[in-house]
Amino acid sequence: MKKIYTSLRILSFFVLLILACSAYAQDATVTGTVSFADDGSPLPGVNVIVKGTTNGTVTDFDGNYSINVPEENETLVFSFIGFTKQEVPIDGQTEINVTMTEDATALDEVVLVGYGTQIKREVTGSVQTIEAEELADIPVSQVTQKLQGKLAGVQINQTTGKPGQGMSVRIRGQLSVAGGSEPLYVIDGFPISGGINNLNPDEIEDITILKDAASTSLYGSRAANGVVLITTKNGTAGETNISFNTSVGMQTVPERGRIEMMNSVEFAQFKKEYYEDQGDPVPEIFQNPSQYEGQTNDWYDALLRTAPLQNYNLTITSNTEKLRSAVVAGLFKQDGVVLNSDYERYSLRANLDYNVSDKVRVGFNIAPSYIIDNVPRTDGTRGQGILFNALHTWPIMPIFNPDGTRTTFNRFPADTGNIFSYANWLTSAEQIKNETKDVNLLTNAFLEYEPIEGLTIKTTLNAEIYNRRYEFFSPTTATFRINNPIPTNSEAIWEDRNDFSWLNENTVTYNKSFGEHNFSLLGGFTFQKFRRDLSRVQAQNFADDRLPVIQGAADINRGGNQTFDEVQEWSLVSFLSRLTYNYKGKYLLTAAVRSDGSSRFGSENRWGTFPSVSAGWIASDEDFMQNQETFSLVKLRASYGVTGNNNIGNYTQYALIDNTVNAVFGNDLAPGSAVNSLSNTNLGWETTKQFDVGLDLSLFNDRVSFVYDYYTKNTTNLLYNVQVAQESGLNEFSDNIGEIRFWGHEFALNTVNTTGKFRWTTSANISFNRNVVESLADGIDRVYGDSGWHITKVGEPFGQFYGHLSDGVYLNQEDLDSSPQVPGRSTVGSIKLIDVNGDGVITRGGDDDDRAITGNPFPDFTYGITNTIKYGNWDFSVVGTGSQGNQLLVRHLFSTTNLDGVFNLLKDVENRFRSVENPGDGFYGTTVGGGNVTGIERDWINDRFVADASYFNIRNITLGYTLGGVDRYFKSARLYASIQNVHIFTKYWGGPNPEISVQNNGQGDGGNLESGVDISGYPVPRIVSVGLNLNF
């Protein structure tokens, strides 16, 4: 972290000392007291080291220290987090007392912006930076998990607890139909082609989030979802540092939030009543429910375990006159809380900067990593996800045989209503392999040349290699499907993916001042190319379960595009330019533009231009503000700009031929080809125009700082596969159509509540994001989600839940006769739906049926609060995050409230309607009448499936203790203990994770058109861990 003013101050202090001191001493002991400049109170825990050595100590409780100094000409370095570092030459003194001042709230910091840096004070866009140090104690594998709750305007959800997966990041509520919402990640200047879930967080120095268009427009057609700039570690000036960080933890699934299902007795009782109410004889196994007392088979619980997690990182940084370097080696190993799931990451990074001369600098970074990730098919709907299968398996089905061995397969006779058979899900979890192995290499090199003062020419070459091997194998002895008796058909999928992306960037920066006019001009040209080669083979029926190899498979499955080769390529040529100007450092103006030519855009629309302009005024520098003490900074900002989203697919513009439309004549396959899309030579990027105003305040000697932003943006030219009448032989036409408007408010507050020995700081943020669909294609006012549970409709927010509205059950014949019914299906006691279109009957299907919007997956607001307390050598922090007003679609109810007794049920279903005299709580309907009656309640998705998922999560509590000068080899050591996911306060009843979003097949979060669906996903564990940081 560079602090120009602070450095100047230290420099002048240093010069004064040299002039003042003339005495010499040898091999002496230096003692002294370190105190707080504001009130003179002693400061414990301050690191005191002899500069350039590993010789150091830490001040005691009263701020006193004592250190042996071998040479007289040494310098002592005093450092303490939150305070300005001081360097004091010894020059023969034996007592050196130091007073330390708190960091001015980092206003002089330099922050990273796209293609350069700026002094934070002069930034005119909406930018937030997080130091990785702040995140270090959170014992999770992914950076984005650590960022939860820390960033205003950024919603980060953990949509599934699968180790190493499932984070969704959305900046300022941005979304689109097909273009996703993930921001662009830029690591050391290199926009990478994927996400950052496999990046070792310990390699990171800091993370900067660019939110408004002025900050992001230099990333042009990739910037609309926001940009995340990541800087990796490098040597810190004047120090050599070796640190070893480790933490070990245990993960468990909290009891809170687990779905309350019936136990064996309750289930048998339900079944007994089912047959009684139907007037049928009760099958023998249900005649005496109490026989199952204490014999519940909790299949879900049996799949869970307590699992360890461990993290080791060794970091070596050094900085000599010529060479700055950092090496980070990491090992992260997490066993999952579901059987047979685990995640391992081995990573290495070496960063080098070399000053060839005063004018020439070169640098080289290389970061290989290897990740192995195995998670059985846990997520997804019935017959797709093992967790959901387990949840609704009958509790009277035994997990174990009387002899203690596992059952292989459970099915009761059909007259018990058990129409599906179930494998042993423990065996499924253990035997089904679902593994990815990633080898990733990220590398950058640069050459920087400063021919004349203020002019810098820089060229960089970056490459990313990503190899992924995916293997799925389900032997004859296991299945993730239901109704698939064991032994079954073995099946396998192999997928090999090789991604290669390279980027060359060439920029020229020129800084010049004319009197009070300061200019900085940037110009650049970049070229990036990406290629993916992917091969996938799906096979089945292996000769031997022990040999899941291609040559062992009887059948290669070619139907339905299961086995294929794929090539994905794109290229991007860009010109960029930025002018930064300020007058007297208080009137600020920035203008930037990027022009992108992309292979993804149609031949008639190949180039997109993305300009932005922003201005700032530091009012606190004006004369009229000089006579007050309250405000140290008052800055007003405004910006406007245009950015794009180019996630439109690589070949969408072309009319493609599907060459797998094969026919058969006689018994011979005849290859067939058919047009399967229309060409669109005008296809282009999605355009987002964003306006932002912001206010930055610092008060009371920078003890309170406050940032507010309001933004409004319009995304137009949404890439959208417009449905066309299928009489055309096609389903859709890809076009840029439609508009969404977004707006929101963001507040961030940082306060230093107490200072000195007991230092308490708070940082809090809250964000309000809104969106509304302004238009879709001509003549189309809605898009349904693929599953029909969502609607995106003009005039409403995006991706709303869609279904019938319920009004209890038909309580009696009179109620039934006087209410609209589902023809042929409604009976007394069945669910009563509201006749939305007023035609007297309840129908489902078409645009004008009785469905309506039933809920909203988006929160009213999200917030985070972090409190940190340091007291002497102790430190303590609490991170809380929350979300208010968001809802989830509890989709698993279609099985877990299936009134036909086919599956195990929610305990609540006990209170269903049984007769006119005994109507229960009027919520769940009658079981009489079979699927024709009960099917409406579960299959015609309705507002009962929608649940409030507002929550507040005490995300992390950490308590640490720092030891200084343990012995001559250690500069310091810190021990800490932390709990992750301490407790979630929520009314959400559909499952343990109020952030969940799982697709039917469990392979993703459903995208924007179908977000917020709970089909039972991998639970997010609580992690109790202890850690140790050693600095040598």
């Binding site: 006779p413 209503g417 129409i419 021919p451 020419i457 109704n483 698939n484 058909n489 040209f525 059948d555 499955n557 139907g559 339905g560 294929f564 390529e569 290229s571 040529v573 030519g597 992309s598 292979s599 031949s603 190949r606 070949y651 072309y654 031929i657 599907d658 060459n659 439309v661 094969n662 026919a663 058969v664 004549f665 006689g666 018994n667 005849a670 067939g672 080809s673 058919a674 047009v675 060409s679 449905q723 066309v724 009448a725 299928q726 009489e727 055309s728 032989g729 294609a777 003549g779 023809p823 299906r825 299907g845 078409g846 645009d847 004008d848 086919v902 079979g930 699927g931 024709n932 099917g935």
Partner: protein, 497 residues
């Protein structure tokens, strides 16, 4: 500064090559500018035009054309809920407000036939510009014309007025067309079928499984039968008979394709081709026609597979007591068409159900078989000819053709009115071959026959596979019409309906 100039010069070179770098065509598939040029391209294109027939006939068309008639019904499984899509068809209870319906089978048949139309339009519009062997070209054009005519013929019979696309759709604007009336559609069908006949080779010279001049003649005759142009029908039907390309199989049971043998046999005029195996060319219609829930062993007993699985849901296209009754005593076809299976876990009576035997052929993979679906058989050509002659008052000659069919069935001369006899003969000879509903409609009997059929079911649900105490739904047989409503999903995309 020199260096800067040099860098700028390099930039200039890079820029000139920009546009090349920005044109990336997909390597893993072809696109239209390069396709539709060669004989191989058009061969692949015509092959793809046949493909939707597999999906149409695997499930949806049998429900719309057979289970919608008095020949078959569904077998209610009270433990299973989501079955209204099929039941609504069998029960003539398809919700159809304003002439549109959300029924998935209606939508599938509509969409898949238009897929054939689009593929054949693409071929017919571009093939004349391509240069390759004229014989091959004529053959491909003939097949395309047949498939387009056949698609529109089924569409017009199911729906009446429909959009008439004759050229490929190139943009969003021309995707949806106004409805054309039945006369316009039929004029196009007749014109396409007539054009196809001389272009196509006879069966003996065509690759087995592809359409032939005989198939095109039979299609044209079928159109004339529906339009009651008896004389025109007679002319083309006589040409089929005179071609000597076809004959009845000796044994009625052998008229139908095996899993991999006896396909496109000498009686076959046109069959939808399937192939067992993992290539995705298989059918599974037999499984759709089995009552449920059924155990793995019972499935295995029917299908002969080594890896049978239990099947749940609801069984469809179950022969009614009425079709069983329709077989005269001694009709050999009854035993070849219907077999009885015991479903031990059934909720209905003793669980002994009739199923369609025509499609029961031993195969090896569960839920994956290779039997072809019969579209036109020579027996139907004979019955058409008999009917066309009878309608023109030539009863004597008509009877000779009818008797050819009856003789093979082990039956003698028909009794009673000849016209009625031919109609009854069609019901049993062509049972479960997607003919019955169309016959009821074209003869104007649909409303009466189905109304009576519905009354019989309501009066005696147990006879129609309802478990004891379970009643037909209250909306059963409340919406009996001669045409299906158009799909709701398409209505929202086409402003014309």
């Amino acid at each position: 500064m020199k260096k800067i100039i040099r860098i700028l010069a390099v930039l200039g070179v890079v820029l000139t090559s920009c546009e090349d770098e920005l044109s990336i065509f997909p390597e893993d598939s072809l696109s239209t500018p390069t396709f539709f040029k060669t004989e191989e391209d058009f061969t692949q294109a015509i092959n793809a035009a046949y493909v939707p027939l597999r999906l149409i006939n695997n499930q949806s068309k049998p429900y719309l054309a057979e289970m919608h008639s008095d020949n078959t019904y569904f077998a209610r499984n009270t433990a299973f809920g989501a079955t209204e899509q099929q039941e609504d068809i069998a029960d003539h209870a398809i919700p159809s407000d304003d002439g549109i319906t959300a029924n998935v089978h209606v939508e599938r048949v509509y969409v898949e036939y238009y897929r054939i139309v689009a593929r054949t339009n693409q071929i017919l519009t571009t093939i004349d510009e391509a240069e390759f062997d004229e014989t091959v070209k004529a053959n491909i054009k003939g097949q395309a014309l047949f498939l387009r005519a056949y698609s529109y013929f089924d569409l017009v019979q199911f729906f009446g007025s429909i959009p008439l696309h004759l050229t490929p759709v190139l943009g969003r604007e021309d995707a949806a067309l106004p409805l054309s009336n039945e006369d316009e559609i039929y004029a196009q069908i007749v014109s396409d079928a007539q054009a196809a006949i001389p272009l196509l080779p006879p069966k003996s010279q065509q690759e087995p499984g592809r359409v032939t001049s005989g198939a095109a003649q039979t299609l044209l005759a079928n159109v004339y039968m529906v339009r009651q142009q008896w004389a025109e029908a007679e002319t083309v039907l006589r040409a089929v008979v005179a071609s000597n390309e076809y004959a009845l199989m000796t044994d009625y049971a052998d008229a139908f394709s095996g899993n991999s043998d006896n396909k496109n046999n000498m009686e076959s005029v046109f069959e939808v081709q399937y192939k067992e195996g993992p290539e995705g060319l298989d059918g599974n219609f037999l499984y759709n026609f089995i009552p449920r829930p059924i155990t793995a062993e019972e499935v295995g007993a029917i299908t002969g597979t080594s890896n049978p699985q239990p099947v749940n849901g609801e069984g469809n296209n179950i022969p009614t007591p009425d079709i069983i009754e329709a077989y005269e005593d001694g009709d050999l076809r009854e035993e070849a068409s219907i077999q009885y299976v015991t479903i031990s876990e059934s909720f209905w009576q003793d669980g002994v159900y009739p199923i369609i035997k025509k499609y029961v052929e031993p195969h090896s993979l569960h839920n994956n078989h290779g039997m072809n679906w019969p579209v036109y058989r020579y027996a139907e050509v004979l019955l058409f000819l008999a009917e066309a002659l009878e309608e023109q008052g030539q009863a004597g000659e008509a009877l000779t053709y009818l008797e050819q069919v009856r003789t093979r069935a082990g039956l003698g001369a028909p009794s009673g009115d000849l016209g009625e006899a031919i109609f009854r003969e069609r019901q049993v000879e062509l049972a479960f071959e997607n003919k019955r509903w169309f016959d009821l409609v074209r003869t104007g009997r649909a409303i009466d026959v189905i109304t009576a059929h519905g009354a019989r079911i309501k009066a005696n649900p147990i006879a129609y596979y309802y478990p004891e105490g379970v009643e037909p739904r209250s909306n059963a047989f409340t919406n009996i019409t001669e045409r299906y409503a158009l799909p709701a999903s398409e209505s929202s995309l086409n402003p014309n309906f």
